[in-house]
Amino acid sequence: MSEITSLTLYELIKNIKEKKISSNEAAKSFVDRAEKSKKINAYVTENFENCLKLSKEFDDKPNFDLKLPGIPIAVKDLFCTNEVRTTAGSNILNNFVPTYESTVTQNIWNEGAILLGKLNCDEFAMGSSNETSFFGNVQNPIAEDLVPGGSSGGSSAALAANLTPVTIGTDTGGSIRQPASFTGTVGLKPTYGSCSRYGIVAFASSLDQAGPMSKDVKDSSILLEVISSFDKKDSTSIDFKRNNYSSELTRNIKGLKIGIPKEYRVDGMPDEIEKLWKKGIEYAKDCGAEIIDISLPHTSYALPTYYIVAPAEASSNLARYDGVKYGLRSSGKNLIDMYEKTRSEGFGEEVKRRVMIGTYVLSSGYYDAYYLKAQKVRQLIKQDFDQAYNKVDAILTPSTPSSAFKIGEKSNDPVSMYLNDIFTVPVNLAGLPGISIPAGVDKNNYPLGLQIIGKPFDEQTVLNIAYSMEEKINYKNYITDWWMK
């Protein structure tokens, strides 16, 4: 049997249920590996001792009917975890210890999972490379000094480095799918309203969604089944009939219609991305899908729209960090001075930039010109998808316009950093489900991903297409453990 840490979630569950591996053995393996993998900088907060203790307790009184029986799991540090520090990658929450639990994490503990620790991410999930984190850069296990993507960069790195069997990220403009693409892993952003936002540190509330990240498609289906739930504590949670995603997973996608949007062929896109996409189309055909050319005419307006909507919502959401009730407080000569110094010292550069943009576009006299305009264009982007879905069941695109880049390469140019999310952002604006699966490598052997976008609430079709294509693509991540040497 291969090492415990390299097993998929499905295999790990099977071994634990068959009593071939105990929960404590699994926890020990992941903790040991994490101890040797500090260089990756995946963890902001380790929960190792507690995890070992709880895994023992599970083994003493095991319940194998649970969906995640005694499985150690690390999650993005954007989910509030009761009595475990939650920072959102920010100095302003450096000492914040929640007294409540996010619904999504509560769902996985209810099914037997055990918290390994909290994973690094871009500050308040604002970033595409994990370089905006107060807790430092994260190394992509694929190669040294390569970014793991972002904002769920600690999650994607931990997953690719076999530090956790699966993980949960959040995706506001691509923060699950882009890091998955950069690390040769699978990441799914569910339909807006599928997974509760309760207890997730808010970035842009009309776009934020939690979702599974995993080594393969089947694992994402298992995790989605657990985390997707209707929750009264989130006013935008939607009460729809959720599938049993893992048991309904099938490779039979014969006759499904998959759309190829011509607008995703952007200027300056490397040849290898174009080739990967073409290969993906062939794989989809091999799986029995019918390929149909479609048009999403407003695609090029998605990013400018996003960079109005997301900062506007962020500036409102982040107004709560004022040094009064929780988080960092800097001293000031009066209340206003205290607010201003706290926020200046507590927030990093990218967060300040976005709060400033958001404040500007919402400020008196500019609201109609920016925010209202963006909401109108967002409508047009959503209508593009609505019309496309009259003809097709799903849409196939590249996940990102390039492979992972070097640490520091784009950190001084915000706009070039934003362009990373060009293929993922429209999906958030339209509230749709989208998955990134590894589909090949570039000339440097860095992973490249393909994205499958589905109809609202049709995660099952997205997963089925991904599952079917995954078998044909047969991608394998080659991780040399270079950071241990």
Binding site: F96, V97, T99, Y192, G193, S206, K232, S235, T236, H298, S300, Y301, L303, P304, T305, Y307, I308, G323, V324, K325, Y326, G327, L328, R329, G332, K333, L335, I336, D337, M338, E340, K341, R343, S344, F347, K352, R353, V355, M356, I357, T359, Y360, S363, G365, Y366, A369, Y370, L372, K373, A374, Q375, K376, V377, Q379, L380, P414, V415, Y418, A430, G431
Partner: protein, 105 residues
């Protein structure tokens, strides 16, 4: 910045505007950082200007992606005795209160 007929023509965001916005956002800014922010914001707004190409006169703004009306909940207390929990993370407290710098002279 001139706004007319819902079309905006971008003019440079100057240092004065950046400082005004930083006041509104309650973020104190050093001079040097303010200059850098002005440069960054200008390049971002240049990029955002692309939306001007579109005529959106007859488009309804999308205010909620989920086409549902907000649910009502019962007007009932669901959490009790959480005073300690709420105060637990406060940077400064005094018995049952959050403490802030003096506001009234």
């Amino acid at each position: 910045m001139v706004v007319c007929d819902n079309i905006f023509y971008h003019m440079t965001i100057d240092l004065k505007t950046v400082k005004h916005i930083s006041k509104l956002a309650r973020i104190s800014l050093e001079e040097k950082k303010a200059e850098k922010l002005a440069t960054d914001m200008n390049s971002i707004f240049e990029f955002i200007e692309k939306l001007n190409e579109l005529n959106t006169d007859n488009v309804e703004p999308l205010t909620s992606i989920a086409e549902t009306t907000l649910r009502f909940r019962d007007d009932k207390i669901t959490s009790k005795n959480i005073r300690e929990k709420i105060l637990k993370n406060s940077p400064e407290k005094n018995d049952d209160f959050f403490v802030v710098p003096k506001v009234v002279e």
